[in-house]
Structures are given as C-alpha cells and as structure tokens.
Symmetry: C2
Subunit: 407 residues, 2 copies
C-alpha cells in the first residue's frame, strides 16, 4: 500500500514525462493512498481525517473521495453522534456493494468458488465434492467454468461487479499461469488461462497453499513469519517471511509435500520415494486408519469417537509432519507452523506428535521455540485467498478499476 | 551501497534535523556514494568520471575524493595514456595500504585468521589444525586471541590498519554475538564478544556457513540465489536469495546439518536422530571409509587413489547430501547447490550421487533444473568471508572509518 502523498511539487513525480501522464500517475497514486487509509482505518474516517492522515489538501481529498464514491469503491456512512457544536461529518468506508473478487479452486477431490466483497465478506460460496483424478484436464476446466458462471450470476444478483478472478490449484504454477505440474491431478503443462480465456477472461492462477497462506496472513491472527501447511490429498506449504509470501527464486518454492521423511520408503506419485505426502496426505491417513478410499471427511469423526486405528494413523501422520516441518523450520527459522486446509479440523490429533518432533529436532527449540497450532481458516482458505488476491489488487490500484468501470 | 546523490535540495535530506547534523548525514552519504563507485568501477575513474556518474558537482567530488585520499581509503593511479590534447586526469582506486579487515574462524578441528585489504586481496593467513572439542571455550578463545594478535602484527608490518574483526563459528549466533549453541564444539551460550573484549575489541560473530556463502557471493561467480553447503565436521548452509543472505526470521536460518535423512537413524549430537551430519559430516565419511578419526585430510587423497572404501563412503555421503539438499531446494526453489568448505575438494566424488538425488527428488527438475557444483572457495571461505564483512562495512560507511582514523 502506498505510504506517502504525492503532489506536483514532489520530485518523484516531477520529470516522469509529459504533463498528462504525470498527472494521471499522481491521481492514481493518491486514489490508492486515500483508499488504503479508508481500508486500514479502525472506524470510518471523515474527509478531514483523511486530509490530516495523508497530508493532502481537503479539496484534493474531497475530489478523490467523490471519484471513489462514483466508482462504488467506497460508501458514506452516518457519523457517530458526538458532543459539541456543528453537524458531524460523514464517515467513509469500503463499499459492500461495488467491486468484488471471484476465487476459484481446483483440488484433487473438489471444486470450489467464492465471491468476496471489498470489505472481505464472503457473499457466495459453492463447493462440489468429486474426485477429479479420473477426468481429463479439459473436462475439469469445463466444470470449473460452470461454477464460475454460477458465481458470477450470484454476484450480479447481489449487486456486485466482479473485478477479476484467481484460481487456486494444487500444483506448481509459473508466472504466466501455466500449471507446470500438479502430480496429484496428473497434470503437466496445462495452460489454464488460455483454455479458459473465453469463459473466465483474465484469470490469474496460483498455488493453493500460497493463496491459503495469504488468506491466513490477511485474516489477521498469524505472526509475521510462519510456515503454513495445507493438508488435502497432497500436502502443500506457503512460506510467509516478514509479512510477505516467499515464492522462491523461480516462483516454485514451498514444496513441503515432497520432503523425504523416509528416503528409502514408499514410492510417491512425484517419482521419488518416502515423501511426506505418502505418510501425511489425507488419503494416506485414511488408508492407515483402515478406512475405504474417499472417506477423508470421516477422519475427524472417527478420531473424535476414539477409534484406535484412526488415532494411531493421525499420530503417525503428525510425526511425519513433525519430521518434515522441523527440517523446514531449521532452514527457514520461522517461529510458527500453522496447520491449514484439511488439517485444520484434524489438528487436535496431529499436533501432539508434531510438537514432540519439533521440540526434539528444531535446533533453536531451547531458546527460540516454535509454536504449532491450527490455522484460523480451514479447507476454504485457498479459495478465500484467491478471491482476496483480486480484492487486494483493486484496493492497491483503484484507478485501474475506475477506468474499467467508466468504460 | 547507496544509489543516488543527495544535495541540500533533496527532500530526503531536508527536514532531517538541525543544520550540522543534516550536513554530516549528507557528507556521509556522498562519501559512501563516491567510494562505492570507485569500488565498483571496471577501471579507475577520474574525478570527472565520478561527477558524471553520481550527479554531484566536480568541486564536491574533488572535496570528497581528497577526504578519502587523506583517510587512505583510496589512492591515485597514473591514468591510461590516451590520444588527443591535454594531460589525462589521475584515476582513483581503492587503497591497498589503508584500512583492512581481520577475519577469524573457530571450527571443530582448526583455528584460522586472515587479513584482507580493501581491494579484497588476502595479505596474511594462518591456520592452526587442532581438535578443539576437548578444550574449554575459554582456552579456545585464548588461542584465538593469540592468532588475532599475530595477524594484527602482520597487518601493521604491511602498513595496514585493521578496521574491525569478525569471527566465524560453526554454531547458532544471536544478533549480539552470543553463541547460543555450537553442538560440535559442545558450546552453549558462550558470550564471545564479552570474553574477548580486552583482546579483540568490537568483535562481530557470525555463523561460518553464512560468512562462507557471502564470500562465495562476493567472489563473483555465484548465481543470485543459491544454497551454499559447508562441509567440515559439521554441515552448515548459507542461503542466498536474490543476492542477499537469508538469515531467517530470528537470525538462525540455514541449519541444513540437522535435516533428517533417516528419521529413525543414528543419534546426533544435537539430541535428535538421523541428521544429515551423521551421514555426510567429514568424520562420518572418514569412519565409513574405515579410516581412523582425525584423518579427514586424507579423504581426497584416498579417493583420488581409487580406494574402494573411501569411494563408497563418499558416494553414500553424496546421496545423503542429495536427499537433504533436495528438500531444501523444494522449499526454497533456488537454482544452484554449491559445495564449499571441506566439501570443495571432495566434490568430484560427492557430486554424482548428489546430482542423481536432485534429479529424482526436486519437483521442478523437469523444467527448472538445479545446478550442483563445487564452490569457488574451499575451506578458507568462512575466514575470508569474515574479513570481507569488515571490508564491506568500511566501504559502505567510510565516514565512520574517517572519524576513527582522525581521532
């Protein structure tokens, strides 16, 4: 979020080119500045509050606020009654009925969609459980397009306008949105934005654990640096360092699921052996618990009822998670491990063994211990993170949205 | 290194406080700017070249250069002869006979010291092989102080003045220089700067793999992001991301040596089991090769002579390194693994098995492969990195050095 106002006297804006371009850049910067203040405020600020906070003049703030109001990015709310003379000024808040973000998710055994408004509230949500592994990628994308169309209709019915869409996938995604590899889906080099160009134009694609980690970060209860472990059929991770997602030198970081926990152990779908997923993926836990494939949703229920096989399987998975996350913590030196995705509801049974391994294996455990706990968000973290990334890009660049809305 | 000049017209300098303080900050900034340009130039620039490159006036550059000359941070060299009229201007270069950095190293089986001048040339180097594990920390530090005194005398004899000292240790160091834990030395909470305050005042302390990785980065042949693996009796790592050392959220990152390669395997000095060090540390390799303890220096010789036990032990170590570094690469997504420290000379026998594991286990191997090779610098990388960190801090903050030299 921009931190300081720019006026034409500012050398950063001066000399940036010819007059009109310079003015446009200035306006875009200041729109983002004012909108960012409104988004980050504890209570709806007045125009005067915003002028004081940003260093812009009252007149400039009013003009910018009017633009944001016309573009339905902000709304006016009644001021809190106050003592003293004079009519109190109206407060400004993010509009709950303007732009919204569409989040989509393809996972191994479900598809999901959600619509988030600018205030961060979920306005629509749909999950379709189905095993996608037998389907060709084109068929899965067809079904996803159907879910996206339904979400768009729901958004329109609620008076919202979708500003963009982001898709979460359980795989390695390059910066163009090409899914390089999703081992659990059997995908290689699937050009998702290209294949959906007509039905979901401008689609962004990202790794599901990355988006879930961002959702957890923006949900507000996470520390500044943490390892987010997303447990579905595959095991992914998002690495957050000093309040920002760490994507790796080439964009493919955070692949915890293929950390070896037993290098000579079971073969993995990735072609290697003994990977964490083979011991702590949800289907591996289900199999170890003696349950039929596909019954991952019953695990918490069985464990809650004290089923010995389920408890033993979860303890073993917790131990494998502890071995792998200890290695990650020793390398990254983060102070927290958050269990998210499908792990969030299994955390009570995974955490004891995981914590034992962390205490034994993390080299700083004696003086800089590592917290392990369930993430705030569960299995919908990735799809919420996907929608949230659209919302955050509108908030960071409101001028783009206003130009589109005007066109 | 600062990137742009500041004048009193610059708003970043304006309003920074009262006149004298502001002027001093400006001078310090511009001294560093000019010195940085001289350090980074392909050939010695003239004062006119520096004025053109920095945007400062000729008069300002001349005054700053005179100060740097008086402080023996730079020297004048004869200009290259050139065609055309007029006497060519003198070139400016880093002084080889002014400030220097003292690097010190405590490892498990040796002590080392080196003196680096501003141009990066090693002017003095001493290594004392001895097993330090039986000694109490105070005795080891006494011997180190002796080595430091000898290095100081050598520097003085060469006309150099030590600007500071940095010590490399094989352990976890907190930001105050307290060695929290060095498992292979048996150290816990050793306040090295405090214990050496009289004999090596102002000593900085850092992890040996971090300093070695920095030395490799500044040696110029390394990529922008890499995992540097330092193999002595312990195994350490330095993580370099986008040209900067990644220290971890709390300063203790890069602990590769305790990544589990066989979670149920041999007990480790760290209290855990199956850590990489137990399979790829130099003493573990020596034992597997059927050689007596302490003969780590004979490993390369034996392997070179085709000794089957040594070759098998090195192959096994390479495999363990491959398992651990694959995990690290999957998390960090760096494009290169550099084998440094004692591994540099063993690389020919470690690399084949290491590369096989990387190819099998790194999830991006199919489209974003990982290079594995020997580091440029060998066992003296850490002590050179330690001295280099002193030199770089003089180059980054020349005003501090000039104030000290004047006092």
């Amino acid at each position: 979020m921009p931190a300081s106002p720019r006026t034409t006297e500012d050398p950063a804006a001066r000399g940036a080119g010819a007059g009109p371009i310079r003015q446009a850049g200035l306006r875009a910067h200041n729109l983002a500045l004012v909108l960012g203040r409104i988004a980050g405020a504890d209570r709806p600020p007045s125009r005067a509050d915003l002028a004081a906070a940003t260093g812009l003049t009252r007149a400039t703030v009013s003009a910018l606020a009017d633009e944001l109001l016309r573009g339905r990015l902000i709304a006016e709310v009644d001021p809190a009654p106050r003592a003293g003379a004079g009519r109190p000024a109206a407060g400004l808040t993010l509009a709950p009925d303007g732009a919204a973000g569409l989040g989509l998710e393809i996972n191994v055994d479900y598809l999901a969609a959600c619509v988030l408004d600018l205030t961060g509230r979920v306005r629509h949500r749909e999950v379709r459980d189905q095993d996608l592994r037998p389907l060709p990628a084109a068929e899965t994308l067809d079904r996803l397009a159907g879910l996206a169309a339904a979400a768009r209709r729901a958004a329109t019915a609620a008076g919202l306008t979708l500003a963009g869409a982001t898709l979460a996938v359980p795989g390695l995604v390059d910066p163009t949105g090409l899914v390089r590899w999703a081992p659990n889906l059997g995908w290689r080099d699937v050009d998702v934005p290209g294949l959906l160009a007509d039905r979901v134009p401008g689609l962004a694609v990202d790794n599901e654990a990355n988006l879930a980690a961002l959702a957890e970060l923006h949900a507000g209860a996470a520390p500044a640096s943490f390892l987010y472990v997303s447990g579905e059929i595959g095991v992914g991770a998002g690495v957050v360092l000093a309040g920002a997602l760490y994507r790796g030198a080439r964009g493919f970081g955070g692949e915890l699921g293929h950390l070896p926990v037993d290098p000579a152990g079971r073969p993995c779908r990735c072609g290697s052996r003994g990977c964490l997923e083979q011991y702590a993926g949800q289907e591996a836990i289900v199999a170890a618990a003696g349950q039929p494939p596909g019954s991952t949703h019953r695990l918490a229920e069985l464990a809650g009822a004290g089923d010995p096989a389920a408890l033993a399987a979860l303890e073993r998975a917790g131990r494998a998670l502890g071995v792998a996350t200890s290695g990650a913590v020793n390398l990254l030196d983060v102070g927290a491990v958050l269990l998210g995705g499908g792990y969030a509801r299994l955390a009570p049974w995974l955490l004891p063994a995981l914590r034992t391994e962390l205490a034994a294996r993390v080299v700083t455990a004696g003086w800089a211990p590592v917290e392990a706990r369930a993430a705030l968000l569960g299995s919908d973290a990735a799809v919420i993170g996907a929608a949230g990334s659209v919302v955050r890009s509108v908030l960071a660049q409101p001028a783009r949205w206003l130009a589109r809305a005007a066109a």
